[in-house]
């Protein structure tokens, strides 16, 4: 019960851009079980809230779990002030179901903003399994671009877009996707980013008849199915993102409802209580 005994130490901290940081957390039991697409819940200190963050990587040998977060709310801003050697009070996982990546030969992985950090490990896993992988990553401007080298090394083709054209193609990831689909098709599209981006990607791929997996970032408290705060409608049924997801069939998700639900604590200052902060744009 005494938290000190099981504090979770920050082994390494990297600044990815002005508002995005990467941290490696010592959590050997979680690292031993983690899979791509799963998430953890952390609470920084005694008065803190529980926030879910998608696992961006893990090292079973070192016993570490990597998280990437954007400093948008009270908790993520506070997290950003911690340094190597500091500890986080609570760190729970691995939660949710791991992504199923077997059996694809041609994949398109789309990341929006910080969602790129979550999409990247999936692209890497597919690439290592021998699939042809196109990555489309969108950012607001060139200063926000993350993981460019890593993505280049782990994809067949990499397309970067910026909203303002300051780097790569000016426009949105959906513009590139439409372009690509004129020339080729994919077995699967994996889209991770802002809800609105996942909505539009899913609309395009539905028309093209391509299976699409999205990762749903929702507000939650426990992450084990207890609170139901993360509920969303998928194919007309209520699902819990924490235990039924976070991956869902993009063609079945009711994005408009999810977008509406994602705003419900926006008035409580800048409390970021939602998954992973894919809030870049």
């Amino acid at each position: 019960m005494e938290g000190e005994t099981y504090m979770y130490r920050i082994l390494e901290k990297k600044i990815l851009n002005n508002s995005v940081q990467q941290m490696k957390i010592e959590a050997p039991l979680i690292a031993a079980k983690a899979g791509p697409g799963q998430f953890i819940i952390l609470r920084i200190d005694e008065t803190g809230e529980r926030i879910p963050l998608t696992i961006a990587g893990y090292d079973r040998e070192e016993g570490s779990v990597t998280i990437i977060f954007q400093m948008v709310g009270k908790t993520t801003k506070q997290l950003g002030t911690l340094e190597e050697g500091d500890s986080i009070r609570d760190f729970v996982g691995p939660l949710g179901k791991a992504s199923e990546l077997e059996g694809y030969s041609k994949a398109c992985v789309i990341g929006g903003g910080l969602g790129t950090a979550i999409a990247f490990p999936q692209a890497k896993a597919l690439h290592e399994m021998g699939a042809e992988v196109d990555i489309i990553a969108g950012f607001r401007n060139k200063d926000l671009i993350i993981l460019e080298e890593e993505m280049k090394a782990n994809s067949t083709n990499l397309y970067i877009t910026t909203d303002d054209g300051s780097n790569g193609t000016k426009g949105f990831v959906t513009d590139i996707l439409k372009e690509r689909l004129k020339e080729k098709t994919y077995d699967v599209v994996i889209a991770i980013g802002p809800l609105i981006m996942m909505k539009f990607v899913s609309m395009i791929t539905k028309e093209a008849g391509i299976k699409t997996i999205v990762s749903m970032n929702t507000i939650m408290v426990d992450g084990t199915g207890m609170c139901g705060g993360c509920r969303l409608t998928v194919g007309g049924e209520t699902k819990f993102a924490c235990v039924d997801g976070p991956d869902f069939d993009g063609h079945l998700v009711d994005f408009d409802e999810a977008i509406m639900r994602s705003t419900r604590y926006s008035s409580e200052e800048e409390h970021s209580c939602r998954l992973g902060g894919y809030l870049d744009d």
Binding site: M1, G3, E49, G228, L232, M260, E268
Partner: protein, 469 residues
């Protein structure tokens, strides 16, 4: 000499119109003088009918006798011999359907206030010492055997306490960052102060129980993996999944499961926001759907958070309300409005997706259904709307499937509960036992404790046998 007054000595309470604005405990507890007076109402019956109503077999006349004598610490020690959470039980047990129902004094007048006296003895002990104080600990030599308890709720803590008292090496795995289960996340501060829960658990830690938080068993470790380095396992993961009504508008902003609402308030301390970071939204008008203890807890919490009008919407009548009479009485005193024989049909939202109103239909009672209660039947054309800002759904919970889904061959019932031998609480997997809401479906704290106790006895037998071979 026995005090023959027909009613219990009143327990001092906070004034309803003061307490419905704070989260401090409602009932303030007996003074020493009142406790002795109430204890003097006990006839000390030789056949001890009250004990038969106690799932954890507290020697009730025995501890009451000690209170009569003014030996309050000894009274606690008598209780602690068989009950690992006396301060909790004294507050949240439904004594009126257990020990007190069987009290001879209840034949004419009110039963002896057993719950109040139990609480008094436990509070006295906590105020005066840090020790667990159970006699059975003394002269105990460590037994050979390691037990893992999954879930630090009432069932798990009781099982852990009993095994530790017998000298076993016991580790409790809890998914949340704080142990206690429903005592911590569900039952509000004003009914069960969290300080009391923490203190009870720290007393268990003093007798050797190790509690490991942030451990979601089924995810970080499976039951199979726990079996590799424990001799026996108890699963007490409770009925944690919220049930929803499946009516239109249920996913609007402002609709909470009672679990989410109460967890934000109790575990995450949202009532102290912004000192604590977790928010909860309440608004002016709040509807709580359901008529059980959880519904009463949610309604009374909403009132304390500043809601002007809080409604309990329940589809059956007064007689059928499943909550304890005391809770219903307290809720009414605090100004909760009961809209009985009404069933929600839909929840209406505004353009922003926030709750605006709830639409209900009036009901009448028909023939008894399978539960023996008269079945509510909708009255055609009687739909009406009430303006609402928040809707809290408190219509029950179902078992958490995490263990079931990750434990090969574990036998479960069609509704998701774990199947056990009712005599021993053994599951179909050797060395693995289960009890509490995960076996019975949502029930009471004390029934879960009774199950934890029964399982501990079986696990003791199992581990003894295992190590004697």
């Amino acid at each position: 000499m026995t005090d023959m007054s027909l009613s219990k000595y009143k327990i001092p309470e906070q004034d309803p119109n003061v307490r419905n604005r704070n989260f401090n405990e409602v009932a303030l507890g007996y003074t020493e003088e009142l406790a002795i007076k109430e204890a003097d109402r006990c006839l000390n019956c030789k056949h001890m009918p009250c004990v038969k109503g106690c799932p954890v077999n507290v020697d009730i006349p025995g501890f009451i006798q000690k209170i009569k004598e003014g030996d309050f610490e000894e009274a606690y020690r008598v209780i602690a011999r068989t009950n690992s959470l006396p301060a909790v039980c004294g507050r949240v047990c439904p004594q009126e359907t257990q020990c007190e129902e069987l009290c001879v004094r209840a034949i004419k007048g009110e039963a002896v206030g057993i719950g109040r006296l139990e609480r008094f003895a436990a509070d006295y002990h906590m105020a005066h010492t840090d020790e667990f104080g159970s006699e059975s600990m003394e002269g105990q030599t460590a037994l050979k055997g390691k037990a893992a308890i999954v879930g630090a709720g009432p069932a798990g803590l009781t099982c852990a306490g009993d095994l530790a008292k017998l000298g076993y090496d016991v580790t409790v795995y809890e998914a949340f960052h704080e142990p206690g289960g429903v005592l911590t996340y569900g039952i509000p501060e004003f009914r069960l102060p969290k300080e009391i829960v923490r203190k009870e658990i720290s007393l268990l830690e003093k007798i050797g129980v190790e509690v490991r938080v942030n451990m979601v068993i089924g995810k970080i470790l499976t039951i199979d993996e726990l079996l590799e380095n424990h001799d026996s396992i108890f699963i007490g993961t409770g009925a944690g999944l919220p049930r929803f009504m499946k009516i239109p508008g249920e996913n609007l902003n402002g609709v909470y499961s009672a679990n989410e609402f109460l967890t934000r308030i109790n575990l995450m301390k949202a009532y102290k926001w912004p000192e604590f970071d977790t928010p909860v939204q309440i608004g002016k008008n709040v509807a709580v759907i359901g008529g059980g203890n959880v519904a009463m807890d949610a309604a009374r919490s909403a009132k304390r958070l500043g809601a002007e009008n809080v409604f309990i919407i329940y589809r059956r009548g007064e007689e059928e309300l499943p909550a304890r009479l005391e809770e219903i009485h307290h809720a009414r005193e605090e100004g909760i409005i009961f809209k009985l024989l009404n069933n929600p049909v839909s929840i209406k939202g505004n353009d922003a997706g926030n709750v605006k109103a709830i639409e209900c239909i009036r009901m009448e009672l028909g023939e008894p259904d399978s539960s023996g209660r008269r079945r509510p039947v909708p009255i055609a054309g009687s739909e009406f709307e009430i303006d609402m800002d928040t809707v809290i759904v408190a219509i029950g919970q179902t078992p958490n499937p995490l263990i079931k889904d990750t434990t090969r061959d574990l036998k479960t019932e069609s509704w998701g509960g774990i199947t056990v031998d009712e005599e021993t609480m053994a599951t179909n997997i050797e060395g693995v036992y289960a009890g509490g809401d995960i076996v019975t479906g949502a029930a009471t704290v004390i029934l879960a404790m009774g199950a934890g106790k029964k399982a501990a006895a079986s696990m003791d037998e199992y581990m003894k046998k295992k190590h004697s071979v």
